[in-house]
């Protein structure tokens, strides 16, 4: 079957799965047909929770090491996701970010656990935790560049299937749709302008409201996140995907 045929089959099946184990089985099989040994669909955050996505089939020795050493928040592959919107080979990561000593240890640890290399598709959805879909191979194996366009598609559609299952799970638990604290559009404007370095006065000019009102929006946003300072507020808004690095740089 052609690679594109694989993708079409996968998309149809992924749209129909109703439980995480089904999605895991589907991912195992599509990963193999694309020439990979492992897959991981995760939210790129360093805490666990019912609303946090973590579906993967990495070797258990690697999984244990990640948990024990808390290798998650600064996993260089996940950090590199913040620098691109398209899939990348793990071997490109040292060119995307400057690795610190711990991050070199993480890459070495993965090799020791038997994961030789891989390809990761970042998923950025505003207002949600950053996520990613990854495909890995065992030590000593490589994967072909020709598999990557299909892997891009599979990564995107697989993550969407996982998002849908998380929502279903939340509904059946009687919980609201899982999401980070939400900001009102006006709070979002004020946080974004603050992140861009504007004073309350400048933000007020831009938005055509009083600086007292800007101040109040920022205070309300801080309360929603349960943080004390503007710096924490901006960091949380970035982390949760309410604002992005490109918003601030532009």
């Amino acid at each position: 079957m052609s690679r594109f045929g694989d993708v079409q089959d996968f998309v149809q099946q992924a749209n129909r799965v109703s439980r995480f184990p089904e999605l895991a089985a589907l991912m195992e099989s599509v990963s193999r047909s694309l020439g990979f040994d492992f897959f991981a669909l995760v939210h790129n955050v360093d805490f666990a929770g019912k609303d946090i996505l973590e579906l993967q089939n990495y070797p258990s020795s690697w999984h244990d090491l990640v948990k024990e050493r808390k290798y998650f928040a600064d996993d260089p592959v996940l950090v590199a996701c913040q620098h691109t919107g398209v899939g990348f080979r793990w071997s490109d990561v040292p060119r995307m970010i400057t690795l610190n000593g711990r991050q070199k240890d993480i890459l070495e640890g993965a090799r020791t656990a038997g994961i030789g290399g891989g390809f990761t598709v970042p998923v950025h959805i505003p207002g949600e935790y950053a996520g990613s879909s990854s495909f890995g191979v065992r030590n000593g194996r490589d994967f072909k560049d020709t598999a990557l366009p299909a892997a891009q598609y599979v990564g995107c559609f697989a993550f969407e299937a996982a998002r849908r299952l998380l929502r279903l799970q939340a509904l059946s638990d009687g919980k609201a749709v899982p999401a980070p604290p939400q900001l009102t559009p006006r709070q979002l404007d004020c946080v974004l302008l603050a992140a861009q370095g504007n004073s309350d006065w400048h933000a007020a000019q831009r938005l055509g409201i009083s600086d007292q009102t800007v101040h109040q929006h920022i205070e309300d946003a801080k309360r929603r996140y349960g943080v004390a300072t503007r710096m924490q507020l901006v960091v949380r808004a970035l982390f949760n995907g309410h604002i992005t690095f490109s918003d601030i740089v532009h």
């Binding site: 594109f4 919107g85 505003p126 891009q152």
Partner: protein, 207 residues
Amino acid sequence: MVAVVTADNRAKYAEQLGQMHRDRKKVFVDRFKWDLAVSGGEYEIDQFDTDTAVYLLELEPRTRGHLSSVRLLPTTGPHILGTLFPELCDGQVPVGEDVWELTRYCTTPDQPRSVTSPAGDRVGIALVEFALLFGIARYTYVTHMRLLSLLISQGWETEPLGLPKEINGQTLCALTLKISPATLQLFRRRYGYRYPVLELEPRAAAA
């Protein structure tokens, strides 16, 4: 509200269309660095901005200024996928009376987020309403791979048409978005709209 602008009522929206072409230049040329022709130094206009194009323009309720927009082209004539990127399709380029192409989705960069955000909700609903009213079964869409996750997260029933390809340094892919009444229901519920967002004029039906 979202205006339906066709060859028949274009004159009435001349100012907003001008803003749209300026915003398209700011977004696609200045920000995304796409290699597109710019006319008069400030307008992004291409060979598909002709009388057959239909624009859905989201206008600011008070000033009637351009907030966001999308261009629709019938696939029975020249369009981006069929004319420029047929290689993005694994098989035949889907064409027909009930297949339209959506392109140049653009939100003005000049407005604060609270005015234009959540990006695309009203234009998204307008696209579905337009399709249901004018007998469109699906849209085709050429987009950047980096935008795919966002697109499918909005709830469109999306199917890829072929593997993504790197063209001029950008990874592009072609998709179809299938339209059904369920799509409209989903979008209205998600974004909290109970009423149509399309602003129709009798003559706009000439599309």
